[in-house]
């Protein structure tokens, strides 16, 4: 069974810590959903960064990553849009770009890989960027906050920072496809047997629930395509999670969050009631590190997570 590679074993170019991350300053790419319907994710990320003692500097002029959908229209546009974002990060001296969405992670990394490995594509992008005086040199690394927690902060340090352990709350990890697949693009850990989320859940005092649904798809990208299909995908996965004892779910992806939080009510007809509250990754970590729960936007969730937190005596 393949396991997570140790940091020194990982391919250097795509997961390395760059100069800017050694000074704990990171370029921050929040993505569209954290700025629109999941503002609680954006806010809790910033609060978590404070607790971790790192500086997330938002790339405010960055565009959407392409959200995997733009690719269906044109094969080049998402890559060039991301090249523009990377050029901005380079100008700001922020080569280490941090994301908080699985889909952003996968698609920005895919674009970066193509740009850096294919000269023709890099020069195509730079020819267009040149029209407005920008240039991407190829120095950016894109990583998810989840990987930053493990590589830069470290699980031991994270554990030592916990002031409100989760009292064994049974949390089901839900990765979100694009942070693990395709493995050739992400490759930070095994896509078939990942355990970064489990490691974080345990570091903050929770109990990770193992179930087959954790690496499956939430159906977000086809929610509007055909009635009930995405809803059934949510129901199927949450049924598995609950049958394995989960009291809550944690996800590093706001798209998964929208699907899991929004569609469980509708999936109950076919899959039975699950009502598992879904935490954004930074919400639960920030809570454990002492951020006041009322600042985390828990009241924004359709399935209120505060009930299980009361039951576990995490809040009163």
């Amino acid at each position: 069974m393949s396991t997570t590679l140790l940091p020194e074993e990982r391919p250097l170019d795509s997961h390395r810590r760059t100069k800017s991350s050694q000074s704990k300053r990171y370029g921050f790419f929040p993505g569209c959903v954290a700025k629109e319907s999941c503002k609680e994710l954006f806010n809790s990320t910033m609060l978590l960064a404070d607790k971790l003692g790192i500086e997330l500097i938002e790339l405010t002029a960055a565009s959407c990553c392409g959200a995997s959908v733009v690719n269906d229209v044109n094969g080049d546009v998402a890559r060039v849009l991301n090249a523009r974002t990377y050029a901005q990060a380079e100008v700001l001296g922020l080569d280490d770009v941090i994301t908080i969405c699985s889909t952003c992670t996968g698609h920005m990394r895919a674009a970066n890989k193509e740009l850096r490995e294919n000269e023709e594509r890099m020069s195509q992008a730079n020819a267009i960027l040149g029209k407005f005086g920008a240039k991407y040199q190829g120095n950016v690394t894109v990583r998810h906050l989840l990987w930053l927690l493990i590589d830069d902060i470290g699980l031991d340090r994270l554990r030592s920072m916990v002031v409100r352990p989760l009292n064994g709350l049974k949390v089901a990890p839900f990765y979100g496809c694009h942070i693990i697949r395709p493995e050739s693009v992400n490759g930070w850990e095994s896509a078939r047997n990942p355990h970064s989320l489990e490691d974080v859940i345990e570091a903050i005092g929770g109990e990770a629930v193992d179930y087959a649904g954790k690496t499956r798809c939430c159906g977000f990208h086809i929610q509007l395509e055909k009635d009930n299909v995405a809803t059934d995908m949510v129901g199927q996965n949450m049924r598995m999670a609950q049958d394995h004892g989960a009291e809550a779910v944690i996800t590093p992806c706001p798209l998964c969050h929208l699907a899991l939080d929004g569609y469980q009510q509708d999936s109950a007809a076919r899959w039975g009631r699950t009502d598992l509250p879904t935490f954004h990754l930074p919400q639960l970590v920030a809570f454990a590190l002492g951020v006041p729960p009322e600042k985390l936007g828990l009241n924004k969730h359709l399935i209120d997570p505060r009930n299980v937190m009361v039951a576990r005596e995490l809040i009163s």
Partner: protein, 318 residues
């Protein structure tokens, strides 16, 4: 040599109502493939264990099964890469299929989706006499080689989460095989083929990349994207939600730099599709009650002109 326990799913549709499991111990080198381990068990321990196999070298595509929760070709999977710490290898039939006997499944739904493709060339002049062969340049052939390697093992179909909840979806293999004919310069039914695969829910692919585990590196995930692009380029079924969604997402990014959620939902369903909008209204209201609605309009990002320049330079049709 190592002691390996095969934990085998047993079921015979002719006599059983529920499946059971048998544990079979075999003494073999731990680098033995799961298929050879099963062959050994069948020859030496229990001759009634049923599974499909032929070539034993990842060419025939017969032996795909679920091995310790991972679906793939048994002939390409050494036991020591999948067994747990007690040396157990759990084998089950492929998910998304009805079991027939032990590891053998009913493949009919999978073949039906191939048959619907007319998986043979339809040259434009097929009824005329031909003095010469139809030539393809090596350059044109390059595009088709990877898909031509498909051995129809159905691993991708078994892994597909959309198939698992909606068997009407064509599935990754059939769409990749449709690509093989859509992009063949000798074929004369490009548009008809795109329309047919669109009707079989091309746009229901969830972008999950589960099919990136193809044992023959066909990468159906990427071919599905190629077929969608061809569908938009050929303007096939443009009123369906799939193409509308792809175009409205692209359009809002071009206009604002951001994916404007509210506009995307309206644009995909149709601003005047009252029935469709009412269907998403309850969720919208639930979100509204939590103060979770995306803004109705998205403020353009700084230097949004640069984004427009990118779209225009690449002649994106939005």
């Amino acid at each position: 040599m190592a002691k390996i326990t095969l934990d085998v799913f047993r079921f015979d549709e002719a006599v059983d109502t529920v499946p059971h499991r048998d544990k079979v111990e075999v003494d073999i080198p731990e680098t033995t493939t799961v298929l050879d381990a099963l062959e050994f068990a069948k020859a030496e321990v229990d001759g009634s264990i049923s599974f499909r196999r032929s070539c034993r070298s990842a060419i025939c595509g017969s032996c795909s099964m679920n091995i310790n929760g991972i679906t793939g070709l048994a002939c390409k999977t050494p036991c020591n890469t999948v067994m747990d710490k007690n040396g157990t290898v759990k084998v089950d039939p492929m998910p998304n299929f009805q079991p027939m006997k032990d590891l053998v499944v009913h493949m009919d739904p999978f073949w039906d989706k191939y048959t619907r493709l007319k998986p043979y060339l339809q040259p434009p002049d097929k009824d005329e006499e031909h003095a010469t062969e139809r030539r393809v340049s090596p350059e044109d052939m390059k595009k088709l080689v990877a898909v031509a390697n498909c051995v129809m093992c159905a691993t991708c179909y078994a892994l597909c989460p959309v198939v698992s909840v909606d068997p009407a979806f064509a599935g990754p293999a059939a769409i990749a095989y449709a690509y093989r004919f859509i992009e063949d310069v000798r074929d004369g039914e490009r548009k008809e083929r795109i329309a047919q695969i669109s009707e079989d829910y091309l746009w229901l692919c969830a972008h999950c990349y589960a099919c990136s585990y193809c044992p023959k590196h066909v990468d159906p995930n990427d071919r599905i994207i190629d077929v969608k692009r061809s569908a938009i380029a050929e303007r096939v079924m443009m009123d369906e939600r799939g193409p509308r969604h792809a175009l409205i997402v692209s359009k809002t990014i071009k206009q604002t730099g951001m994916l404007a959620e509210t506009e995307v939902i309206q644009g995909t369903i149709g601003r005047f599709n009252i029935k469709g909008l009412l269907k998403v209204a309850p969720l919208g209201l639930r979100m509204l009650s939590r103060g979770k609605m995306p803004p109705p309009f998205v403020k353009p990002i700084p230097k949004v002109d640069e984004v427009r320049t990118i779209f225009e330079s690449l002649e994106v049709p939005v």
